[in-house]
């Protein structure tokens, strides 16, 4: 078990100025890790909310800080925005007299596949996987960095396990379009897992409309009184819609593991 009583963990999320649920998973995972007592301190920081990336280091007591992006993939935010705003120079940087260690984003952890499988099984209990088309839905286009590539990678990993009749990646803004889900799936049961960090605008408001569950964009997930009832009888199929993979509680384990992975890849002697 990792133990870093003299180190701080900063978990970085995107956040939102319009959606109250965007930062919730980041706060929830931080609280889980805080309660485990693995680190001397655990803090969150955000691009669009507070504490900001420009503020967060002032909150830290420890001289050693691990930064883990709570992002689904490597890309513009993890390579440009977070390093720029925190003034990170490389894997190990000295900033405000602290040694800051920049870890890989949680979404690139090899156990993400396991989490997707866990969520897919949870959402359609008792349904034989041989009768399920599993869809991993990402944003698509270049907007969300390499998230489309990451979704494809996860689909390949799940497919290799030979559990489900079909496993496909699908997107909001590029083909194969999630709105056409019934066109490219063959099984009577269709399980959809959003490959997003939060139940924000996309996974809770946009995708349900594209799937045909909702007729119009609803309120934020936390403000909705209507729990989604799975399965949905749509287009002569049974559709099961999960909440975003980033809300999976097991993600906290992967966040901690990214710190262990950093230490394994960057032995102490390489530190300045």
């Amino acid at each position: 078990m990792l133990s870093k009583p003299d180190s701080a963990l900063i978990l970085v999320g995107h956040g939102s100025t319009v959606n109250p649920d965007s930062s919730s998973p980041t706060f929830a995972h931080a609280e889980t890790i805080r309660r485990q007592g693995l680190f001397g301190e655990v803090h969150c920081a955000f691009w669009k909310e507070e504490p900001s990336l420009r503020q967060v280091l002032h909150m830290v007591d420890c001289d050693e800080v691990y930064v883990v992006p709570n992002f689904i993939s490597e890309g513009y935010f993890t390579r440009t925005v977070i390093p720029r705003e925190l003034e990170i120079q490389g894997p190990v940087s000295v900033i405000q007299n602290k040694t800051v260690k920049y870890c890989d984003p949680v979404g690139s952890h090899h156990r993400m596949t396991e989490l997707l499988l866990h969520r897919a099984a949870e959402i359609a209990p008792g349904v034989p996987p041989a009768q399920i088309s599993l869809l991993i839905v990402g944003h698509g286009t270049s907007l969300n960095d390499n998230s489309a590539l990451a979704a494809k990678r996860e689909v390949d990993c799940i497919r290799q396990r030979g559990i489900y009749a079909e496993v496909l990646s699908t997107y909001m803004e590029e083909a194969p379009w999630i709105a056409d889900w019934d066109q490219f799936t063959a099984q009577p049961h269709v399980v959809v897992v959003p490959f997003f960090i939060a139940d924000g605008l996309h996974s809770f408001q946009d995708i349900p409309v594209l799937l045909g569950i909702d007729r119009e964009t609803g309120s934020a997930a936390s403000q909705s009184n209507v729990f989604r009832q799975n399965p949905h009888h749509l287009r002569n199929r049974l559709l099961y819609y999960a909440s975003s993979i980033g809300t999976e509680p097991l993600l906290a384990e992967l966040i901690v593991d990214q710190v262990a992975n950093f230490d394994a890849a960057h032995p102490k002697r390489l530190s300045p």
């Binding site: 319009v18 109250p20 420009r54 967060v56 002032h58």
Partner: protein
């Protein structure tokens, strides 16, 4: 750990009630702290009581009318509650939910290690969709700051300048000072300090530039960035 922020906070609050933003922090005899809105009208026993730091995040999330509060230093903290915290550890976490980073930034200011960043430098490093913000003109920026950063929108005190040697003008002098004028409040206050323009101001600056360029497109207009945010 050289400088324990929780211990420093405990020592600072030991001499009685303090304000932080719209909160009144009161040490409870026998241990722990009570938080409530500083302008809460009596009777206080009518306040809805909750315990523990997690409740603070929920209290900070929405206004009285149910609107999301992305900017926690907006003067829109809901009323009607009192929050009981068992110790300084819980208090510190609760304050970080209610006014993120403000206790830590107060320490850095006290230590002389808080460096204010001029607005022109904040805008100059923006990329992607926010790269447009760096094209804001001085008069536009002044008007924007008056609209976005006034105490009606944000309670933080501005420490940054428009550009080195060029202070922000058009806002009351108290808004630009890290310390309160003596005698203006009934009890001591931990200030809310803004050492750098926030993302909300940067996003608004982009909107101002985009609007101007839409209204009067210039032939020499700069090429748009092709990064993912644009």
């Amino acid at each position: 750990m050289k400088d324990n922020l929780t211990e420093r906070l405990a020592a600072h609050l030991a001499d009685g009630p303090h304000h932080l933003g719209q909160i009144l922090i009161t040490p409870i005899s026998g241990g722990g702290y009570e938080l409530r809105h500083r302008d809460e009208p009596p009777p206080f026993p009518a306040l809805r009581e909750s315990t523990g730091p997690d409740a603070a995040r929920q209290l900070a999330l929405y206004t009285d009318t149910g609107e999301f509060r992305p900017l926690k230093s907006a003067p829109t903290l809901r009323r009607g509650w009192r929050l009981l915290l068992a110790d300084t550890q819980e208090l510190h976490l609760a304050l970080d939910y209610l006014y993120p980073a403000m206790v830590g930034i107060w320490r850095s200011h006290q230590n002389g290690t808080l460096t204010a960043v001029p607005l022109d430098q904040t805008l100059a490093r923006q990329t992607g969709m926010y790269a447009a913000a760096k094209r804001i003109q001085n008069d536009e920026a002044r008007a924007l700051i008056q609209r976005t950063c006034s105490s009606a929108k944000c309670l933080k005190r501005i420490l940054w300048e428009m550009a080195p040697g060029q202070p922000v003008d058009g806002l009351p002098s108290g808004k630009m000072s890290p310390v309160l004028d003596p005698g203006t409040t009934a009890c001591d206050e931990i200030p809310l300090l803004c050492h750098e323009a926030c993302n909300i101001l940067v996003a608004e600056a982009r909107q101002v530039v985009k609007q101007r360029e839409r209204d009067a497109p210039q032939p020499e207009r700069q090429t748009q960035s092709t990064s993912p945010e644009s």
